[in-house]
Amino acid sequence: MTVLGKAIAHESARGHVTGSALYTNDLLPRRGGAAYAWPVTVPHARARITAVDTAAALAAPGVLLVLGAGDVPGENELGPSRRDEPLFPSEVQFFGQAVAWVIAETEEAAKLAAGRVVVDVEPLPAVLSIEQGIAEESYLTEPLFMRRGDAEAALAAAPRRVSGELFVGGQEHVYLETNAALAEIDDSGHMLVHSSTQHPSETQEIVARVLGVSRNRVVVQALRMGGAFGGKEVQANAWAAVAAIAALKLGRPVGVRLDRHHDMTLTGKRHPFLARFEVGFDDDGRILGAKVELFADGGWCLDLTEPIVYRAMFHIDNCYRIPAITVMGRGVRTNKTSQTAFRGFGGPQGMVVIEDILDRIARTLELPPRLVRERNFYREGDETHYGQPVRDAARIERIWSALLRSSSYDTRRAEIERFNATSPHAKRGIAITPVKFGISFTATFYNQAGALVIVYADGSVQVNHGGTEMGQGLHTKMMQVAAHTLGVRLDQVRAMPTRTDKVPNTSATAASSGSDLNGAAVKRACESIRSNLAEVAAAELAVPACTVVFEDGQVFPRDEPSRALDFSALARKAYLARVPLFSSGYYRTPEIHFDKATGTGKPFHYFAYGAAVTEVEVDRFTGAYSFRRVDILHDVGDSLSPLVDLGQVEGGFIQGLGWLTLEECVWDARGRFATSGLSTYKLPGLGECPLELNVALLEKATEPGVVYGSKAVGEPPLMLAISAREALRDAVAQFGSGGIIELGCPSTPETVYFAIRERTEAAGGARRAAE
């Protein structure tokens, strides 16, 4: 009985429910003598700093230091790719930016003293919207292009055309654990940083850079994170850097813990996008040509904006064949937090746009949106607009028709029509949308991973790999892979905290790739140990090594299970026989490439597919709505860990639902992030969870070329929530009749209310005109 593919609990679940699982932030009160840091922030969207007076703060009780640019022993710079991100800025670039840090004996002392640092500034004009950025040519990137066919000609020749604009809102990560870091000088006199980071190697690089030391002097450990979702991919580095500089200066541990308000005002969000588009199509609703421009609000520095814009461009097709298309994407520089990775990494923003377009086409032609979507599906043999063959395109149809059946789509559509006919003020809507999501980092070099697996002479196992645990169940899966590959019981395997001194030069745990990349590396490491052990077992059992089976802690000849050796005993024998019991494993994704100059290539190893049906009921008086039922069919290949995967699908869906409905990022006229707490920024609660949520994983879905036939699952399900947005539009469409529905994004009750009003007023106007 192998543990691979079994529905098992999260590896730390016991620790979670008893409160004994520790997070970086929990280490602070446990370190005797730790000092605490608190940021000094400036309430201007852009301003030159003319003077900083720290005297009053330094005189406050318990204050040890006020850190500024002059205290940085190395480089005052955080930018991972472009050097455009000073840790201590001389010019404030967004409202509430930290310009100095108070270090004190207690958090309370640091907090109160931070208010006593006087920062004199000279306010400067700021860029506060995408439109303003375009008008003032304030950009982070060059225009990026992908082209297929002659879009202009196709548009000119198309019998029908629609054009429009869609603003897609951002999203705050709200990982429940805010950013935290603890730096200390370890017993060998070097820097040890505990960080809630998705990318320990980069955190190590940045800490080494600000300290002005080589990377071998810095170790970063990521124990586990209380959620991350992309928000700790590059944006965990600053806090680690502050802690490290202060710890070095003071010679004692220093902790940084952002409170929720600081976490929301200092760190970036999902990029808001502005899309402008024109599409041509025929009378059946088939798209013939399209021109799309995608502008991303990247905030004040580059961060990951370029690959995020690329991913939006890569996903502008979703599951649909667009014979001729030109896509332009560009990052706009604004005076806001630096927007960053967030589950889907631009893909969701691209996908929302094409789904919005398809609904517009359907409503223009008065065809069911579902039919128009189907007619545009990729078929086997098609290529994307960047020239990658759409492998397994038939899965789109397979998932689609299975889901239509399992969700009783047609019957319910009819029921909904009956309900709506007799309900003047509450209307229901339903929609089905598909997902195709490309798996791999778009920066090719990130697609590598390492592992270090250790078997001790008593047969117990430690697994180290480059991935970090943020709740997604990566460690659980890696333990399953290791236990299966080595043929041991799960309880013989321990997943180790991620450390840069165990596996070096790792990639961020991101792009859904954690288990694909690290799983392959762990598997290889285990295979190499197993083959060493097989030799020892072969000698012991007097059979050829190739016939030795490892299973469940037992090692036996294939045909004679009764002659089993205990794995522990075998490990002991191997040790005595001087056979190595540890191994590294290394993996790189084969055959992926992308050429920016031509906008073509094969950036993805494969695609993950899925589809969702959502039904909603909307109240005309207030625009309030509730999701009545959601059905999902999603492709995770052969699941390594079904309970984990189910959790990713459900959780991803609800997170996407939040993004598209109630999670509204509001920046006020001064550029202040006005929704900077959980009392003003509303993420889905229990009340938003659909009354009925049916999730199934696609069967017979083995993915060749990925660890044990599995597929990545972290990001793709988020985009299943686009069905909720389209269901809302369908419900809005039930008020009044005919025509395109413009629905703002996120579709808050207020947005839905005004969309309904526009439609009823338009219908009223038309009726009056007809009379």
Partner: protein, 462 residues
């Protein structure tokens, strides 16, 4: 000796601890299982359980947000944290169900859910589960379905369960607390003590449940030299139906109020589940909701629709003020210095038709964009004798739409009445834009909620 019982161990509380939130107090002692996700009562990651008597006098476990609970407030209490739930290493049934059903992913919200579910597990007379029980806990990872599954599958504690047995014993006795220091904290038991303190320190900060005041301390870093908590003052507690009124003590928690009005006061029954979350309602009071005088408070529109009045007490006198005359301006009230709200009085008989509406982004546990309390009294001929249309979120104070109310009187509540009143409501208020909603939306809601009221009551009224 001031102390409390923490997971069965006695813990001392000094004056230096009293103004810390219990969450800080716990974490500084290395009990880091209790998490901070927001420090403003929104996420529930900090939930702990107190042993308290409910409105019927039954002892029960009550989950509260430790981030909004001053450590001084828990003196004499029995407190359980997530570390104290498992019994000698054996997981509690609620914990094992969370493990088995996939209720945790990153695990950061999990301790809070465990505490909420733990309290729900032991709730006296529970049948099934109350979704409200976990309405104050947010999870960013799971999407709630597995946690809901845990709640739906809750078993029943058996008689041998020591936690269950504890509920049969006496409640902890709460005495007067007086901690003097650089920051003082007082939790008196009687009004006499309250007034003595007010005379000595007229500037002392007053709190009941702390769900507004401690948010101020956590989020705006306000610090007070001294805090006076009314939560345990006998004269401010107690709810009673008399022949001509319902009296609700200013210090009674909203949770305590729920069974008292259940099946009797529809507008409060509709309002309370929409008011914050169970975790907050276990502490929040009407005294605090009215005392804080926020224009977006939920109880004022409902209470205005009921023509409630307030009993105000001071060392010198007791007086009664109609709620309609209580709010003077933005966060300004008719309270004189040294005066407190003692009780809310709701006159009987109640209006025949009552409705509460709340417009917000999130269904549960959100602050109102606009709230409305509506009521009607009708004569035997079906004509309206009096109407109350009260709103929150549309002006500097909770307000009534007097012109519209007058226009409803003396006629049937029908299509024509609705058509006549809508224009009167349209320009009645000049609300503001903010991050919760635009002025246009708020203006529209003033009218639409009235139409919704008319639509929702049409069946009842014909």
């Amino acid at each position: 000796m001031t102390s409390f019982l923490l997971n069965g161990q006695r813990v001392q509380v000094g004056a230096q601890d009293a103004h810390l939130s219990l969450l800080q107090f716990l974490r500084e002692r290395g009990l880091t299982g209790t998490k901070e996700g927001c420090a403003e009562g929104e996420c529930g990651a900090c939930a702990v359980v107190l042993l308290r008597r409910d409105a019927r006098g039954l002892l029960r476990y009550e989950p509260v947000n430790s981030c909004l609970l001053l450590t001084g407030s828990v003196v004499d209490h029995e407190v359980l944290t997530v570390e104290g739930v498992a019994d000698a290493g054996r997981l509690h049934p609620v914990q094992s169900a969370m493990v088995e059903l996939g209720g945790s992913q990153c695990g950061y919200c999990t301790p809070g859910f465990v505490m909420s579910l733990f309290a729900e597990y032991y709730r006296p007379d529970r049948v099934g589960y109350d979704p409200e029980a976990i309405s104050g806990n947010l999870c960013r990872c799971t999407g709630y379905r597995p946690i809901r599954a845990v709640a739906e599958a809750l078993g029943t504690p058996d008689g041998a369960d020591p936690r269950q047995r504890r509920l049969q014993l006496a409640p902890p006795a709460l005495g007067s607390v007086s901690l003097e220091g650089a920051r003082s904290f007082h939790r008196p038991c009687s009004l006499d003590e309250v007034f003595a303190m007010l005379e000595r320190r007229p500037d002392i900060a007053i709190t009941s449940g702390g769900s507004d005041l401690v948010v101020e301390m956590n989020q705006r870093h306000r610090r007070f030299d001294a805090v006076l908590s009314l939560e345990n003052v006998t004269e401010l507690r107690g709810m009673a139906w008399t022949a001509d009124s319902l009296r609700i003590g200013a210090s009674n928690t909203l949770t305590e109020l729920e069974p008292v009005i259940a099946g009797k006061v529809p507008i409060l029954e509709q309002m309370l589940p929409l008011f914050s979350s169970r975790l907050v309602r276990n502490r929040a009071t009407l005294g605090g909701n009215l005392g804080t005088a926020s224009p977006i408070g939920d109880s004022p529109p409902a209470l205005l629709a009921l023509d409630a009045s307030l009993e105000l007490v001071s060392a010198a006198a007791t007086r009664r003020v109609p709620l309609a005359d209580f709010f003077l301006g933005y966060r300004k009230t008719a309270l004189a210095p040294g005066e407190l709200i003692a009780a809310v009085l709701i006159p009987l008989p109640l209006p025949e038709v009552q409705r509460f509406y709340k417009v917000s982004k999130r269904v549960l546990d959100d602050i109102s964009t606009v709230a409305a309390g509506f009521s009607l009294r009708r004569g035997t001929d079906g004509r309206v004798e009096s109407a109350r249309l009260a709103y929150g979120g549309v002006a500097a104070t909770p307000v009534r739409a007097h012109a519209a109310e007058d226009a409803l009187v003396g006629r049937p509540f029908d299509d024509e009445a609705e058509a006549r009143v809508r224009p009167l409501l349209e320009g009645a208020f000049a609300p503001l834009d903010d991050h919760r909603g635009s002025a246009d939306y708020r203006r529209a809601m003033v009218v639409e909620l009235f139409s919704k009221f008319r639509f929702d009551t049409s069946a009842q009224l014909t």
